[in-house]
Amino acid sequence: MSTTAQAGASGASGFGGRWPLALRLARRELRGGLRGFRIFLACLTLGVTAIAGVGSVSESLLTGLQRDGRVLLGGDMDLRLTHVAATPEQQAFLDSRAEVSRVAEMRAMARGTEEDSRRVLVELRAVDSLYPLFGSAEITPAGNLETTLAKRAGPDGVHWGAAIDGSLLRRLNIEPGALVRVGDIDYRVTAVLEREPDRTSRAFTLGPTFMVARDSLPETGLVQPGSLIQYHYRLRLDPGATPQAMRAALTETFPEAGWRIRDTTEAAPGIGRFIDRLTLFLTLVGLTALLVGGVGVGNAVRSYLDGKTPTIATLKCLGAPGRLIFQVYMAQILALALIGIVLGLVLGAAATYAAAGILGDALGWRAELGLYPLPLATAAAFGVLTAITFSLWPLARARSVAAASLFRDLIAPAGGGAGAAGKLLRATLPALLVSGGLLAALAIFTAADRRLAFFFVIGAIGALLLFRLAALGIIAAARRLPRPRRPGLRLALTNLYRPGAPTASVVMSLGLGLTVLVTIALIEGNLSRQVRQSLPEEAPGFYFIDIQPDQVADFDALVESFPGVTELRQVPMLRGRIAAVNGVPPSELEIPSDVQWVFRGDRGLTWMREPRADDHLTAGQWWPADYDGPPLVSLHDEVGRALGIGPGDKLSINILGRDVEVTIANLREIDWANLSINFVMIFSPGLLEQAPQSHIATVKADAETEDALEIAVTDRFTNVSSIRVKEALEQVGALIAQIAVAVRAIAAVALVAGVLVLAGAVAAGHHRRVYDSVVLKVLGATRRSIAQAFLLEYGLLGLVTATIAAGIGTLAAWLVLTEIMRADFVFLPQAVILTALLATAITVGFGFLGTWRALGQKAAPLLRNE
């Protein structure tokens, strides 16, 4: 830049304010380049990217979900009844108010017409001519769905058509056009179902879709009393009608109908909830990365400003007031932070496109691509506040650099004695509290779950304080310890507390990084443990569902006569939902989040005369075997405890569209892990005995007899479906594995932040280390003894920090698993110890690397300069 240009620039900005001068000086100071700020930038960019990316992806998915809500739900509203179809009055009411599409869903067995054909559990969907009300189903060959499913004559007779999932073709080893038997009739596969618009709104599915015309369903013989059929009524509301008004009218007209009503805001409640939870978790991880990064920011700023001590002192000698110094360096830090934040925002915004590309149609809808200003603004605010909060203290120290240091070699890089530090702290504290408070408030108020975010903030502050205290403790202890005679050990000890030692920043950065590591290791360990354990030894091989009461005896006889069958249990089952607790509907109850699932939809119900051998009561008594009084119920004790109810309290259960009042007789423990049949509610005999019901059975059999058993049962009882537990569990396992991958991927972000910060902390001390080792070498220390001393120093630091981090990390993992993931927590000592040892090794490694490089330095140039 030319002189005149500079003079002109200075003249233009010299309108008298302090900031322009500060900005001018800041700009000149930044000519030094980004040296020393790479870690600063990396930390901020990483954290901001994580938060902006998670927020943007989540918003784009949820926006897409909302956009496609009607398509995904299959209508403006969806009413669902289990076991029974809507009554004629109900149907008439619906028809008078909206266009109604009727869909029935159930599980059934599909098989080829060959004698030895495989049996495959399918999700049978019987749709009417209006299906789908919104969106469209894609079939191959392309055509009208209604005609495709219609009853038509073919070369081998008149058959209903079916559109089936492509995977079913492969599993049944058939070609399009072939006949497939479901229940009592054969369907002709007239099309492959490529895409169901409303697939996402369905809960967990166990098999491929088998779509048929609703009118064909009665012919299958599958519609039996008590069969587990779900009847859906999808409504296209008249213009002007609102789901709210419709919902109110339905509840008022048919208070006991027992239907579950959903509108487009809950098109995919399970997935929406899942996205919310995942977003919360990932945001917390992003915040952790930013927090760890914040320590890196602080370290980088401190070491940068330490290097600027002569410049700051010079400026002060030339008449710069402390405030100007503060402004000059604050401006620089903000400018650099801006670079990091913008970079992070760009990457975060791009994440939407990347995620959309990876996910594609997998969720059943497409993310709405675009820029989402709110998550970006939030991430930017987090970035700015983090940069400011963690820079304030080093900046305050820089402000207080004594100009006199130019005349005199100071031992401490900046600041004065303990008194000066106290004064400085008092002066800086208000600003620190304000920016830290804003950061905490932002974290809490932007979170979906504020309570959890609050705990996170408290935990983060606690962790920061704890590591700070630990560092002070280590320094104090090292100072107090008697001086060892071995020079190596003595050097290691004194290195921990000498002025300017990196002890505090190493403890802080290693500690936070390690906490994240331990947390992740434990979460990961627990998740994979659950996958392994969800295949318990005693898990049954099959569930058989929809066994009719009059088939039970034959079924039992058939299965028990089968060689290789080791256990058979069967119980009657209905589905019903809790309509009220002591007269209060669930919507007005304070339900703890860990038992909300019980109220979310239908639950399986059964009745028994006597408790089973492994039933364990925690309160109340079982009814007599010949009990014949008013209905009693045995309730899952977790639900009872969570709601504060027990024996004597009343539940109102909606079964088959009728509210039934039952009294709790006892609370009962349930171990879900062994996958045998379990029920939240077991009724006393009497009431349910008369109701239409089907039976469900679990069967354990030798592996080699499983296929034969399945064929025998489904041949004999065409309406009975078999669910292979292993296949179902594999699906669950795959789901958990996917979550684990997401956890691991995001954990890597936090981990990278931790390693960056640690490397930064060690690098910050490198200069002094070089000088130390040169002096020690001059004094006759061998490289071996110097290296030993440094290894000891870092080993000591690593060990103490690892111990504390293991504690905090365990606590954090416990919180995440039990509070966010609703999973069990088991402490896994090996995972923790391994992680701690690994981290200690990394610290020592970094320290050693730095030392080794320092040892390689030639002594002469350094000494000459001094």
């Binding site: 830049m1 030319s2 002189t3 500079q6 003079a7 200075s10 003249g11 010299g14 309108f15 008298g16 304010g17 302090r18 900031w19 001068l21 500060a22 001018r24 000086l25 000149r28 100071e29 930044l30 000519r31 030094g32 002569p310 410049t311 002192a313 010079t314 400026l315 002060k316 000698c317 030339l318 008449g319 710069a320 007031p321 402390g322 405030r323 100007l324 402004q327 004594a402 100009a403 006199a404 130019l406 005349f407 005199r408 004695g417």
Partner: protein, 270 residues
């Protein structure tokens, strides 16, 4: 920031100077520096250390004074106190008519900006700024709109007109010290403090710097306080003060030795 801050800053310092310009006990007409019973005690691990143990010194405007003495005798400490960079533990310090004891750190900074130039043994140029910018800093601090034009003039006057856009790292030691001299004289201070200005330079370059220093001093009529170990250099000043163990042990006038190099005004205060 409030633009008025900048506009009023110079006035403020002048006001301060006016308000406190009462003569000290060792009143001396037209005095630039007045120290009266100045002591400096610094805390240390081994207990308080008495660095200065009662200095009385009066230096007139335009005077050139060298400060000599062995290492640790308190030379630098005395200079820091005169620059307002260190506070005296006891005693009174008045520089250019301004008494220091009532001023806070920022007022002292403003006072330095307007009235004191400092030259160090290690030059202490800001490495990220060009020669021109380095020289302009004190002028910019003072809010002068002609900061860069004036800085360019100053650099030309020390023979560095061709080095304006060079960074300190691109300048030789002698050039760096010349830049530092230009910076020290840029705001036309009343007082120049020099701490071993030739200590890091070879003999010939050092000699050139000294010539330049005295030339500028003479041109501006600046009061010069120079710390040096070099007896020859010390002798070029009109007066020599010797410190030993925190006390002034000698205060001699060299008036006749190098009279030719000293302007008449420098002794007018005596």
């Amino acid at each position: 920031m409030n633009p008025r801050d900048q506009a009023t800053a110079p006035e403020t310092s002048r006001d301060t100077a006016g308000a406190t310009s009462q003569p000290g006990p060792n009143a001396m007409p037209n005095a630039m520096i007045e120290l009266a019973g100045v002591e400096l005690t610094l805390p240390s691990a081994a207990g308080p250390v008495h660095i200065l143990r009662g200095l009385d010194l009066a230096i007139g405007r335009g005077e050139t004074v060298s400060v000599v003495g062995p290492s640790g005798s308190g030379k630098s400490s005395m200079m820091m106190i005169i620059a307002g960079l260190e506070r005296a533990s006891k005693g009174e310090v008045t520089v250019g008519g301004t008494r220091f004891d009532g001023l806070d750190e920022d007022s002292l900074a403003r006072f330095r900006r307007d009235s004191v130039g400092i030259v160090f043994q290690d030059f202490h140029l800001v490495p990220t700024m060009t020669a021109l910018e380095n020289v302009a800093i004190p002028l910019e601090f003072a809010g002068r709109r002609d900061a860069f034009a004036r800085a360019a003039e100053c650099l030309e006057s020390v023979g560095l007109g061709h080095r304006l856009t060079h960074y300190p790292g691109q300048l030789s030691g002698g050039e760096q010290q010349r830049t530092a001299l230009a910076r020290a004289f840029a705001a036309a201070p009343d007082l120049l403090l020099a701490d071993e200005p030739t200590g890091n330079l070879d003999g010939e370059t050092g000699q050139q710097i000294i010539e330049l220093l005295f030339r500028l001093q003479a041109e501006h009529g600046t009061t010069l306080l120079l710390i040096t170990h070099d007896p020859q250099l010390a002798a070029r000043c009109a007066r020599s003060v010797k410190l030993l163990d925190g006390l002034i042990v000698d205060d001699v006038t060299n008036g006749d030795v190098m009279a030719g190099d000293v302007t008449a005004s420098s002794v007018s205060g005596l």
